[in-house]
Amino acid sequence: MAIRIEHLNYIYSVGTAFERHALKDVSLELPDGQFVGVIGHTGSGKSTLIQHLNGLLTATSGTVYFNDQNIYAEGFDKKLLRSKVGLVFQYPEYQLFETDVFTDVCFGPKNLGLSGEEAEARAYKALQQVGLKEKYYKMSPFELSGGQKRRAAIAGILAMEPDVLVLDEPTAGLDPKGRDDILDQVKQLHEERKITVVLVSHSMEDIARYVERIIVMNKGQVLYDDTPRQVFRHYRELEAVGLAAPQVTYLMHDLAEKGWDIATDAATVEETAQAILEYLK
């Protein structure tokens, strides 16, 4: 039970002057229940990659397997795949379109062929999961704040009860508290429902705090695929490809340069404070 990608290539606008090789021979596996981060600068191929996970884009060559089934095989149920692998795009609130929040969240499950009653039950559950209060359910999506709209949009995907939740920069433009709230909620879902989460983010600090594995994309290829601590050890290489390590990682390197005998791979505030306290004990 997992997603497996083998030798995936994707070329935009084949045969035109705008031809661009966006993914080059990408192979990776996403086992069930992982919390995975995907980082890469703008244009590195990360958004192209995640759009292959639910078959939204079809590979130029290579294969994607969902639970060992080739999603490009004839007769494969793409509609089922899209309900199992839920994709939340950047600025998903722009995709809210119904007259009220609750109806909007019902749209997904209804489209899956569920009865009105079942769809409503799922919508209710999903809205609770994202922590949106009931007083907002009957409001127009346009009356909500940025963070609330984003929650409503995520609920729309959760209502389809996906096994894999893919989030493309879910916190862009949100204030720090709104950012923490959304990511904490996603983490809770991950723990309670054991769903796989793929988080695309430009915030190295957020990535370091939440994920257990990081996939670094560069020029359409996987540059690193490892634990946060291991990946952020390559902070100079990451900078060379337009990324960075979390700020605290740099602090540890500063201290090591001053002669502190301290591990430099702390990636979160807690790990850093802990390491410093232990050293000074």
């Binding site: 600068h41 940025g146 949100l174 500063d254």
Partner: protein, 287 residues
């Protein structure tokens, strides 16, 4: 002299019913007094919906005060005859670079503003050159903007504003959509404009690390200014900032945790360099 002077500035968003009558009014900016000195770098922090963008839009008269007054370089923004002068004094850069670029070639895009102002064409090209050089995009002058990265596009948007020779630039979350590299490029550009060209900068952001070089930090909540001071003063109040849904730079947060655990560190540490130096003092004292 203050380039921006607000006195009891208030703004209400109005919700109209079908007959055009006011059904609901919500106060977004609530009787703010604000003075920004010419040449200063002022950062505005606040959660989504705290009123910071509404305030920013007053500075080049996109919005006009419901109550109170706002003077930009001595001109009342409600004086319609001064509208174009005010817009030339204060330029704005928004979040999404794609919405701000209109030219098909970088240098044409940057020249659009001054051309619109009736600047003679020789002078336009001089300004295009100096603005593109100021943001480090001169070598891309004959490129198509849609082939640029997010950070590069945003720097072109800034050059477009700089070409109008404003005394003041207001940037409303210019880095929210950018990757780490793009963010660094844009913030470096903004700091350089402030230091070298002495342009007054008002920067709105949700990234706390971007404001540690500001002369002054303003925190907004429910349309009011609730905290202001140097970055050091503001960021030393960690718990208070959290109550306004904000954060502090990671170095400040680590220092805060270490203080809580009993380490003797000063308050208001802003950067890794400062924290490393203070920790080094502690280590030396031990040995």
């Amino acid at each position: 002299m203050s380039i921006i002077r607000a006195r009891k500035l208030a703004f209400d968003y109005l919700k109209m019913d079908d007959e055009g009558k006011v059904e609901n009014r919500s106060r977004a900016v609530d009787e703010i007094d604000l003075d920004v000195k010419e040449g200063d770098f002022v950062a505005i922090l606040g959660h989504n919906g705290s009123g910071k963008s509404t305030l920013a839009k007053h500075i080049n008269a996109i919005l006009l005060p419901t109550e109170g007054t706002l003077y930009v370089d001595g001109k009342d923004t409600r004086d319609e005859s001064k509208l174009w002068e005010i817009r030339q004094t204060a330029g704005m850069v928004f979040q999404n670079p794609d919405n701000q670029i209109i030219g098909t070639i970088v240098d044409e895009d940057v020249g659009f503003g001054p051309e619109n102002m009736g600047v003679p064409s020789e002078e336009i090209w001089r300004r295009v050159e100096s603005s593109l050089k100021a943001v480090g995009m001169w070598e891309y002058r004959d490129h198509s903007p849609n082939k640029l990265s997010g950070g590069q596009k945003q720097r072109v948007a800034i050059a477009g504003v700089v070409a109008m020779r404003p005394k003041c630039i207001v940037l409303d979350e210019p880095t929210a959509m950018l990757d780490p590299n793009g963010r660094r490029e844009v913030i470096r550009t903004v700091c350089e404009l402030n230091q070298r060209e002495h342009v007054t900068v008002l920067l709105i952001t949700h990234y706390m690390e971007e404001v540690i070089h500001a002369d002054k930090v303003i925190v907004m909540d429910q349309g009011k200014i609730v905290m202001q001071g140097t970055p050091r003063e503001v960021f030393s109040r960690v718990e208070e900032l959290k109550s306004y849904r904000l954060d502090v730079p990671q170095a400040t947060l680590v220092a805060h945790r270490l203080r809580q655990a009993g380490l003797n560190l000063p308050e208001g540490i802003l950067s890794n360099e400062e924290l490393a130096a203070e920790l080094e003092k502690l280590r030396a004292a031990k040995h």
